[in-house]
């Protein structure tokens, strides 16, 4: 019922994109644990500082996305950014300037509970040093209304590894969970081998999936590939989000990964609204506000 209402208001607001409902969190188990349905919004791959033909409007896209989400009739409980907040640069001073400007723009979000994580563009050239100065830890957990969120860092190591220390940390955290706990993993790169020759994988992501596998209610949200994508590893769903800078081509569709040509009428950029109820519902939110 709540999901239908949410779709109704999104349609009324002219914001709703494709709706995807994942058959996760079996109703009996979820209702027993949930503190009530809620929704959050996922931003990803804003790449602040990018300039190029792939998005001639790059200086305005993030602000438009902020305005779009601020315009939601039912504000989300919180917002997550799944990495690549800024576009990479070799200059440490410029890297910090981009992070500063990014932070100023997203300060315009009306929802003030905002969770960040790095992408390789933010953190791979300095092992996350600048990122930590601005946004804090690169891996952490938080809980919201009965759901346990785990943020994994697969970018501070430039070889795209979680690393043994972080995997041990994940294992220790999971040991505190019950098998039917609701768990959401947020990360930047796909944990599974989506397209390894395009860097669309995590070198030791299979170890994280193995640790998560005993838990019956797990869903992963990530970015990096600049397009909507849905994949199952066993019972675990992995959902990639659109970017807010430029869309990339479909994995494996051509020899090299590349941005799609810019189309001002259909830029294929956006955020995503995620409703956590007895099922997980995804609604893509195109950038519409000027």
């Amino acid at each position: 019922m709540l999901q239908r209402h949410r779709r109704d208001f999104l349609k009324l607001a002219g914001l709703a994109g494709v709706t995807f409902t994942a058959g996760l969190f079996p109703p009996g188990e979820a209702s027993a644990q949930a503190g009530g349905d809620f929704h959050f919004v996922q931003f990803s791959d804003t790449h602040w500082g990018f300039k190029g033909a792939a998005n001639p409007d790059s200086e305005n896209t993030l602000a438009k996305a902020v305005a779009t989400v601020n315009g939601l009739a039912n504000p989300p409980d919180f917002i997550v950014f799944t990495g690549d907040l800024t576009h990479t640069t070799d200059d440490p001073k410029e890297r910090r300037a981009r992070m500063q400007r990014f932070r100023e723009i997203v300060a315009g979000l009306r929802v003030k509970d905002v969770r960040f994580m790095p992408g390789e563009h933010d953190a791979s050239l300095d092992a996350g040093e600048a990122y930590k100065e601005f946004f804090g830890a690169t891996n952490y957990t938080f809980d919201h209304k009965g759901v346990h969120f785990i943020v994994l860092d697969n970018v501070s190591d430039p070889a795209a590894k979680l690393g043994t220390a972080q995997l041990a940390w994940l294992e220790a955290d999971l040991k505190q969970r019950k098998p039917d706990d609701r768990i959401v993993v947020l990360t930047h790169r796909p944990l599974f081998a989506l397209q390894p020759d395009w860097d669309w994988t995590t070198a030791d992501g299979d170890k994280a999936i193995e640790l998560l596998m005993p838990y019956g209610n797990v869903v992963v949200f990530y970015g990096h590939i600049h397009q909507e994508h849905h994949h199952m590893t066993g019972h675990i769903a992995h959902h990639a989000a659109k970017s807010l800078i430029f869309p990339l081509v479909v994995p494996g569709s051509q020899p090299r990964r590349a941005p799609k040509p810019y189309d001002p009428a259909q830029p294929d950029l956006g955020t995503r609204d995620v409703t956590m109820g007895s099922k997980v519902s995804l609604v893509e939110l195109p950038v519409t506000r000027s």
């Binding site: 990479t88 070799d90 795209a160 020759d197 860097d199």
Partner: protein, 115 residues
């Protein structure tokens, strides 16, 4: 033959064998520099041992060739030597798998294994 004679004979033979092995195992040198491999296309022979000699001119890069199970880090100031005996013919993509900056995504190449 005396033991001394055998030793006199054995040492040069061992050296010659080592030299022969070195001479008969071809080396292919590949340099890495943001954001390209030089050369970015190399050709080797099916079933013939080869040593890839990898060097970097600027920073740490990686070379990953998934289809042949190869992966190496390339550290500036040293040679990374990777022995390989290709067991299947074809063209195989390799790429840098250590994020190295804006252009990293374009840093790739092709290993051609000729039958």
């Amino acid at each position: 033959m005396t033991r001394r004679f055998m030793m006199m004979l054995g040492v040069p033979l061992a050296l010659a064998a080592a030299r022969l092995a070195a001479e008969t195992t071809p080396e292919v040198r590949i340099g890495a520099k943001k954001f390209a491999f030089h050369p970015n296309k190399v050709t080797v022979k099916l079933g013939r041992p080869v040593v890839l000699v990898l060097t970097s001119e600027d920073r740490i890069h990686g070379l990953k060739l998934p289809e042949l199970g190869l992966r190496a880090e390339i550290v500036p100031g040293q040679e990374t030597r990777v022995s390989l005996t290709p067991q299947k013919a074809g063209s195989f993509a390799f790429f840098c798998d250590v994020f190295c900056g804006d252009g990293h995504e374009d840093m790739d190449g092709t290993l051609v294994v000729e039958a």
